[in-house]
């Protein structure tokens, strides 16, 4: 490695499979928790990855509306799948977290802000859509009017070890959203897994922190052959991409059709179960719950995930402002694909397809968005 270091931002090099194991070891040894893909209960979830043996070797995932299956690939690939039920937001915007604790001390109240004792994180296997989603949540929750200090504290020291997609699911549509499948920024290191003639990774350095890490690893220079193998591998993701969403004019179309009959059509199929918002990597809605102990001496404020699909979420004095599923689904879709632009300057959907796969009844955001205000049957 001496002969090629120092690697810099923009450098490309080759990392062996054992080199990846070495990278994991170094991250843990440096006090980082590495969170990445692991198999649990017949699905690829996110969890601690200590060694390469923890990764879903030789497995792929088949997605459809409301269905998900793991299948053997017949090779040794470590990242040969797409995105699972868990989004990386679970490690930063925690599903449930204590924000502050009040303790009664005689006649005083002691305030204990539950400043997160955060362990530095490394997110492993972040896809292009996931990286874009992290960027969207940062925009909403760091600085600005909706800044969340717990999120900011947890986000402060996160390494992103991305993986370029070399296959795509039938539910993926990142190409339509302009977020993927190729990832060109928002990572510290990006790996492209190459399976032949030898199993290896093309590594791209994306940040100074990534360069520091790269300079500790046994990397070898890239050849023309490696680059063309990577290009072919990435091309497969684009070819396999199963869904498309027309975004031209979408923002206007949705805002102009609040009374379209298609909203009622979806409402007849939707369970209002909130699964789509829970798995969506950009959805950020939460609620506050205050808990007390029996003596009333300790009160804790908890922030937990909530959803525009829960009736209580839109409850204001006197009732819910979105009492029907029609109103709740319309709120969700219109926010994601339209008013998010007005509010945050981009669409709120990155095209990961999670909401399609993990909707128990298989409601497809791309199909619903297309059907609303469709010229053939406006009304």
């Amino acid at each position: 490695m001496e002969s090629h270091a120092p690697w810099q931002v923009g450098s490309k090099a080759i990392l062996s499979v054992t080199g990846l194991g070495d990278l994991l070891g170094r991250l843990w040894a440096g006090g980082r928790q590495v969170v990445g893909p692991v198999v649990r209960d017949g699905a690829i979830c996110l969890g601690p990855v200590r060694t390469i043996a923890d990764l879903p070797k030789g497995l792929t995932d088949e997605h459809g509306p409301g269905t998900y299956r793991l299948k053997p690939r017949g090779d040794e690939a470590l990242f040969g799948f797409t995105v699972g039920q868990h989004a990386f937001k679970r490690s930063i915007l925690l599903p449930e977290v204590a924000l502050v604790q009040l303790r009664r001390k005689g006649r005083d109240v002691e305030v204990e802000p539950a400043t997160p004792k955060t362990q530095p994180l490394a997110l492993l296997g972040v896809r292009a859509c996931d990286a874009a989603a992290l960027g969207i949540q940062d925009k909403v929750l760091c600085g600005g009017p909706y800044a969340d200090s717990d999120y900011e504290a947890r986000r402060a020291d996160v390494l992103v070890i991305a993986v370029q997609c070399t296959n795509a699911a039938s539910t993926c549509f990142c190409a339509s959203m302009g977020t993927g499948p190729h990832l060109s920024n928002g990572f510290d290191l990006a790996l492209t897994e190459l399976l032949s003639p030898t199993h290896r990774f093309l590594v791209e350095v994306g940040s100074p922190a990534g360069a520091t890490l790269a300079n500790q690893l046994e990397l070898t220079p890239v050849s023309e052959g490696d680059l063309s193998d990577a290009k072919t591998a990435e091309q497969a993701a684009l070819t396999q991409m199963g869904r498309h969403l027309e975004t031209a004019g979408l923002r206007e179309k949705l805002q102009q059709n609040p009374d379209d009959s298609h909203w009622e059509n979806v409402a007849n199929r939707c369970l209002s179960c909130a699964n789509c918002t829970m798995v969506c990597p950009t959805c950020f809605c939460t609620t506050m719950e205050d808990r007390t102990d029996l003596t009333g001496d300790i009160a804790t404020r908890i922030r937990r995930y909530d959803s525009c699909f829960s009736e209580a979420f839109a409850y204001v004095h006197g009732g819910s402002v979105r009492p029907t599923v029609r109103a709740r689904y319309r709120q969700w879709l219109t926010h994601k694909l339209s008013t998010w632009v007005d509010q945050f300057g981009s669409l709120g959907c990155v095209g990961c397809g999670r909401c399609i796969t993990f909707c128990p009844v298989g409601i497809d955001i791309t199909a619903e968005a297309k059907a609303v205000g469709a010229p053939a049957r406006t009304g």
């Binding site: 017949g42 007849n268 179960c273 128990p360």
Partner: protein
């Protein structure tokens, strides 16, 4: 609520499982006993203080003529009445009798049915007297019981969200058994509170917490049918612990969840 509320625990037709949740609060039991005055709780103590009570926890459903009189008396001497468990809140598993011919069943089960005084239906407490709070589940969750007691001791309203189990399931990060295993799951239409216990063990939710705030049973039943679950089995999924809860009852009967050829009785058991 007073500083140390006087509490009574009552039982109608039920299995005792829910009231035992109170004794199951091992770690918190001493704190609970310190915070409340357990005035009447035959399962746990022989001391028996007379009413009125600040809080009555009522387990069980109304299945016998004298239950009706008794629950009215309990209501009259309780400031706050909390029903606990599927029996008290919906009629329980014993409400399956509501769909059968009562006289025929009595004749099958008892040698001398004329000795038995039993109503044709099993109904929830709220069908007979006003109820302040409901704790769902078969059995109830210990955490929710503690939450209600804590709230009443501290004079605030208890936090009992009515959204579907799915939200809790996703917060826990369980793999969705519907999507990943094609296991029928009632989570999308079931009231939260258990912390998504069954999906956490890779099983579908059986709906023991009863219907959520706005249960969309019809599209869920359609999904079960589409994935190959036989209609009768879809019906049975809805007709278990909360068979008498109106949304589950309607969906269950629609798919023929009961074998009985006799017409269900029309009287409400009141």
């Amino acid at each position: 609520m007073s500083h140390r509320p006087k509490i009574a625990v009552w039982k109608q037709s039920s299995c005792d499982g829910c009231q035992l949740s109170l004794l199951d609060c091992e770690d918190e039991l001493l704190a609970v006993l310190g915070a409340v005055d357990l005035a009447y709780f035959p399962e746990a103590t022989s001391t028996e203080k007379k009413g009125p009570y600040d809080v009555s926890l009522v387990e069980g459903s109304i299945t016998m003529p004298h239950d009706v009189e008794r629950i009215k008396k309990i209501r009259a001497e309780s400031k706050v009445l909390v029903t606990i468990g599927a029996c008290a809140t919906s009629g329980g598993i014993q409400a399956l009798r509501n769909f059968r011919n009562h006289a025929e069943m009595m004749a099958i089960v008892y040698a001398r049915p004329d000795y038995i005084q039993s109503l044709a239906t099993s109904t929830p407490i709220a069908d007979h007297v006003p109820v302040d709070y409901e704790l769902r589940g078969c059995p109830i969750s210990k955490e929710q019981l503690l939450e209600v007691l804590t709230a009443l001791v501290n004079g605030r309203s208890p936090r009992l969200p009515r959204h579907p189990v799915c939200l809790e399931c996703k917060i826990k990060g369980h793999v969705c058994v519907m999507v990943a295993h094609q296991t029928p799951c009632l989570g999308p239409v079931t009231h939260a509170g258990c912390g998504a216990l069954c999906p956490g063990y890779s099983r579908g939710c059986y709906g023991c917490f009863g219907p959520s705030d706005d249960p969309k049973t019809s599209p869920l039943a359609k999904r079960f049918l589409a994935q190959g679950v036989p209609a009768e089995q879809v019906g049975r999924l809805f007709l278990t612990f909360n068979a008498n809860a109106p949304p589950f009852k309607a969906e269950g009967l629609l798919h023929g969840g009961v074998e009985s050829k006799s017409a269900p009785p029309t009287n409400g058991g009141k």
